[in-house]
Amino acid sequence: MIETKAAVGRPVPRREGGDKVTGRARYTDDLVVPGAWYGKTIRSTIPRGSVRSITFDPAFDWPKVVVVTAQDIPGDNVVQLIRDDQPALSAGEIRHREEPILLIAAADRDTVAAAQRAIRIEYDALEPVFDIEQATETYSTIEISKGEVDEVFEGLEGVEVIERTFKVGLQEQLYIEPQGAIAIPEPGGGIKVIGSLQCPYYVHRALKRALALTDEQAVVIQAETGGGFGGKEEYPSIVAIHAALLARKAGRPVRLIYDRHEDLAATTKRHPGVIRHRTAVRRDGTLVAQDIEIVLDGGAYCTLTPVVLSRAAIHAAGPYACPNVRIRARAVATNTPPNGAFRGFGAPQSLFAAELMVEHVAERLGVPSLELRKKWMLRLGDTTATGQQLTESVSSDLVVAAALKAAPPIRPSAHPTVRRGRGLSLVYHGSGFTGSGEKKLGGKVAVEAAADGTFTILTASTEIGQGTKTIFTQIAADALGVPLDRVTVGPQDTSLVPDSGPTVASRTAMIVGGLIHEAAEELRDRLAKRRKPRLPLRVDKSYVQPDTIHWDDQTYQGDAYPVYAWACTIVDVEVDMLTGEVHVTDLVSAVDCGKAIHPVMAEGQIEGGMLQAVGWATIEEIKMKDGGYQNDRLATYLIPTALDAPRIKTILVENPYSGGPFGAKGIGELPMDGPAPAIIAAIHDATGVWLDEVPATPEKVLAACNSR
């Protein structure tokens, strides 16, 4: 065997890095498709009701334009996901603003714009529902129960009961590349869609269903993708269906590229919600019981809401050991645009409340919150709210110690009107799909050896900036025992690669990376067995859940995740007492990722996720008006700039997980969980006021300070 330097653990160059820094990388809108028309989605302007009439101005030259309505859908008028409630195009009923009603396409953008102005839609409006307390429809409910919660709250002597209600707001993923797809009709009735997306096979299934295509007729190819963060998990199915419907009717390729306004106004957001906590503790700080109620707003269609709710519920008790826990969670329907996947997937919402609850209990007991955390936190052998016993890679002590060690000295404020404060949070985040998800999914990969001595990884897992292509080649190269440059990742094209499952849920490195590791090792062994192996030789692998993992979907009891990644985050803030502005000046996070396959990329994931959380906690506010988002431009939806971002210091703690490749655990979402509660705690440290909600906008901070 050739002696090679291990690639895993080294910051090797990003695979597609050269293309990205030179402008050679081709994103969807960069692709030249000869003869392609420009498409546009015509959307509702009311939040609830029905379409009374659609009028096409007879003065307009309509033969220049292709128009698609719900009647033009050859298959089911459904966006395939969990429930079949969301139509690809409204068949008359309107459940939210910006709901797609018609599609148009023409040879140039000006004709499209003129056609759009020549369409008038009239509605019969119904009273919309925006308040989650008034919602009549429930998408899903979950109850997790451990011990005897009612008995604790009703009977026990000598316990303190603390109650608080927390609120979390909408958040836009704000990938810098807006949604987009190009659909190309193929000979034989097929359609090829090239797009900006995270999950090629989600789009594949959705296309087959809506356009009545066979497996082979539907082809989905991921173009270079300019960020996702969950926003390109399920929404691209809609964009792809629309582009494909237009291309089918026009008989030519159609580009459907959203501008930023449309993207902000119409696409999914992080679920807002209300979380109520009731915690019982003894005077000595012993945690006795947690009673938690979560309500998430799913918006007008179900999308992935039940799964988001599931992750929210499972993480709701925080990383703490408590003998009596009850978590009741429900997700409801309102008449806002549907909410959907966003990094963290419900956990940031419920962990925000859980972490602040520690602060409130500590304040009531008059002890430092860090002391309570250390008393309560889950350690090896402890059981979680779902009854999962943690048997390895439990890193609460490690990350707390590492973060405390790395935190900068506390500085006094340099200005009389500015106060400084510090906050800390401890979070954990399950890697991979919840419960039996990975088993049901059965993700597939293959690794192939070619005659020229090179190897190709065949996977549908996508590169969206997080480093998939690089870490997969590192894992495969080391498993094969070959130099890195002999291994490449094949294209994310459903006609060429197997369904590895979606690129979501902190599962790519750990689950799919694990499959690649297995496949590569088997390939190495099979190649080694023969002196002249017949090439090409391909090894396929499907995910098989270890029989040590047990989960009951009915009772929500058992091993919710194979393993958890851990983070302790310390933030320093400055609060301007004149304006209520909060500036996060320093952010330190110690993260246990099991094993950093690529330390620089792991840090990059953590830093980016942390800043996204800082934005959620401070300035990323969405104001609603009549069921629409008022912040529907980049001039009004503001994310942190380089000048707003704190100096972020990441400490990678490596506590390996035996089930992950080289010990790796998933950390894609974890960084979204910790900063928000730490920031609220830091604001309290600075000002003495508690804001139990995010975003903590200057308006809210100032009002809270003034009302003291």
Binding site: T417, T579, G580, I619, A635, T636, L643, L702
Partner: protein
């Protein structure tokens, strides 16, 4: 925008003739506002008259006791100007808060004035500095310049050539409150001068305005009274960026702070 004609004048006089003689013509400077509106379809002119490269509109020079800044001089030029730093450091500070490098390289005082947004970042500084807006035909005291929401005293075809700052501009102090540290449209802008007593605000009314009763109090040396008078002098609203209550409170807090010696 293929239906919008691009016109490139030789000089200011030619530009004035083009603006007067072309129906629905709009002057174009660095495009940082107009190109956004044009692309979004919120304005639909028939022609753009490009002032960007007219030499007469560039440059920063000393004039009778003060400083004159060309209407098409980008903010980057103002930020780097030793003259402006000497005569009106608050204008340098205000220019630094506008957008970021890309916008500062294209945005101009002439554009900020002509656009007349109540949130225009430099406008309260110009008000507090008693600036003079020099056009192709006259000199307009800044206090007479903003007539209504996004309306100015400019006549049809009248072009801003320069902005003059008197010696008193040196004492102006300024603070912008936005949502973030860069690339933010203001929630409140405050600019003050002690001598003469000037208090000007942005984003608290339909126009950038001088707070007259607050100024009267300040002229009497009554800082408390000036701060209190802000409530009556301003007309803030709730909108996507902030609330009326926040704007009023912050206008007062920042004013009090700027007047602290």
């Amino acid at each position: 925008m293929p239906d919008v004609t691009y016109l490139r004048p030789r000089d200011v006089a030619h530009a004035v003739r083009l603006c007067e003689g072309t129906p629905d013509a709009r002057p174009l400077g660095g495009g940082t506002d107009l190109m956004v509106m044009l692309h979004a379809g919120t304005v639909r002119p028939r022609a753009l008259v490009d002032l960007w490269s007219l030499a007469e509109l560039k440059g920063i020079r000393r004039v009778d006791g003060g400083v004159e800044i060309g209407a098409a001089e980008p903010y980057t030029g103002i930020i780097g100007s030793a003259l402006v730093a000497e005569y009106c450091p608050a204008l340098v500070a205000a220019s630094r808060t506008i957008g970021a490098a890309q916008i500062q390289n294209r945005g101009t005082l002439g554009g900020n004035l002509a656009n007349a947004s109540p949130a225009g970042d430099t406008l309260p500084v110009l008000l507090a500095a008693d600036a003079i807006v020099v056009t192709d035909r006259r000199a307009i005291p800044i206090v007479d310049f903003f007539t209504a929401y996004r309306q100015t005293a400019l006549a049809l075809g009248e072009l801003i050539v320069a902005v003059r700052l008197p010696a008193s501009a040196r004492g102006v102090r300024f603070r912008k409150v936005g949502t973030r540290a860069a690339q933010a449209i203001s929630k409140v802008v405050v600019a003050v001068n002690r001598e003469p007593a000037r208090i000007a605000f942005g984003s608290v009314a339909e126009v950038p305005l001088r707070a007259r009763s607050a100024e009267a109090s300040l002229a009497r040396g009554d800082v408390q009274g000036a701060v209190a008078a802000v409530a009556a002098d301003t007309r803030p609203i709730d909108d996507v960026r902030s609330t009326a209550e926040y704007r009023r409170t912050v206008a007062q807090n920042v004013l009090r702070d700027l007047l602290r010696d």
